[in-house]
Symmetry: C2
Subunit: 285 residues, 2 copies
């Protein structure tokens, strides 16, 4: 494994909440000699430099021509276009990762592009329902899992470097395949977000949503998140989401049957199996 | 409206988390001259007296023969049996309320029992996933909505007294019909709890539930709650729950169709409608 002192220039493409947090954490922890940001939005570039998230920033990828390590932190659907364009600018020795919430489609596309540089997919499991530079924090990744998704063509050295960057930013690197990642985040993140949206839509039928207690507020907290972003995420994780939605439809239909037939013992058994898994969930932490 | 100084003896039947909290709040706020507790479990009686939740406590309802106001805080299915038995002990001038999470079935049953005392259903929207005396707190109800469910036979005076007790315990009394209550809690509380159980069951398919972030932990927080209690709650709110489950199945099936047909504009519009309702939810608080 190379020591991280070897990163001279760390490039960050996309200076929103996650990208700017990468920059802040990198600068605070001395991960690179220089942090260079790129964003199509000039005001985001300015805000990143002012907030101490990058040493310089501009709108064109040519700024990254001496970057040894690049983090792509643009919205999911823009990742593949950025990967294609980067091929013209980066040194062949560069290592590139991304922070997209969906991985299989991106890893597949990166392989098809066949750039000279090395790409390894990534996904820090951190963030909030807020976005933009105001959501950026140098400690955003501290203690959070940072999933890294090597495939059979990824060299152990490249994997180790991406894991080392995640670790240096304060996160806990976890390697798994892109498929396994997409299956996990489908249930653990994308389905909860979809349910928040579905329940909020149902609440249009009520006069007194102010009566909602802790479980309602918890469930719908993420329901105000960006529609365009979530359309991209769900679309790029389509196959897994269809499977999870079907599995949830089955669970709800099962309970509907028990309730409708007044099968109280089955209702209790259903709840008990959930409680056992809750205990397992807690113990997994 | 009678002033609350008129409660000489406040009776509490059921000394778990909610019942003991009523006792603690009543004693702290000087709501009654004396608080008398009843619980089938002798150790719960002892714990309530030791915790300052009641001045005396015992296992038999005959202790309540001079109670002017009684709060029934037993599990949902035990409320109607307690109401029937209380008729033999209370003075006819007594006012009785309960704290059950479901109301229509209880209000209907109370009317059928035709006791001499006055019954008005109630439901403080407070509580946690914990239970028992350890969950009891004198400030549990502060700022929480306390729903009161009068029917056409409830006198304005009886309604005002129950609302005054809720207010005196720190809560915000809100009057609505038992039907409206059950419809609201079906979506705002019972369905979120069911979803927590359903998602936990789906998590059995994953190897790494420890990757679950904030939205997963929020959603499944209540999934460890008591299976016997939830069997009672869902069973007593059966009709409304079947309606809400069907409505959620429709919402999920709608989104499934959009995703499956790659109708991105519809996915975005779905999410936007949720976000508008999230903003409405927040403004309602």
């Amino acid at each position: 494994m190379h020591g991280m002192s070897e990163i001279n220039v760390l490039g960050i493409v996309g200076l929103g909440g996650i990208g700017a947090s990468v920059g802040m954490a990198a600068k605070q922890r001395g991960l690179a000699q220089r942090v260079v940001g790129v964003d199509v939005d000039q005001s985001a570039c300015q805000a990143a430099v002012e907030a101490g998230a990058s040493d310089e920033a501009g709108q064109h990828l040519s700024r990254l021509k001496s970057a040894g390590f690049v983090v792509i932190a643009v919205p999911p659907e823009a990742i593949i276009p950025v990967l294609s364009q980067l091929a013209a600018y980066l040194p062949p020795s560069a290592i590139v990762t991304d922070v997209g919430s969906v991985k299989s489609e991106i890893v597949r596309a990166a392989r098809a592009i066949k750039p000279d540089f090395t790409f390894v997919g990534g996904h820090p499991m951190a963030g909030t329902e807020r976005s933009g530079i105001e959501a950026a924090r140098a400690d955003l990744f501290v203690g959070a899992p940072w999933i890294v998704t090597p495939d059979e063509q990824t060299s152990p050295d490249a994997l180790a470097q991406v894991e080392q960057v995640a670790f240096s930013l304060g996160a806990v690197p976890v390697a798994m395949t892109a498929e396994t990642h997409d299956q996990h985040v489908g249930l653990l993140s994308h389905l909860p977000n979809l349910l928040a949206a579905a329940l909020l839509r149902l609440s249009a039928q009520l006069d007194h949503t102010e009566l909602g207690g802790g479980s309602w507020r918890d469930l719908t907290r993420v329901g105000g998140s960006d529609p365009a972003l979530w359309t991209q995420i769900l679309g790029m994780n389509r196959a897994k989401m269809l499977t999870w939605i079907d599995a949830l439809l089955n669970e709800l239909t099962l309970m509907r049957g028990y309730l409708s037939a007044e099968q109280n013992e089955q209702v209790t058994a259903y709840w008990e199996s959930a409680r056992r898994l809750k205990e397992k969930n807690i113990n997994d932490f």
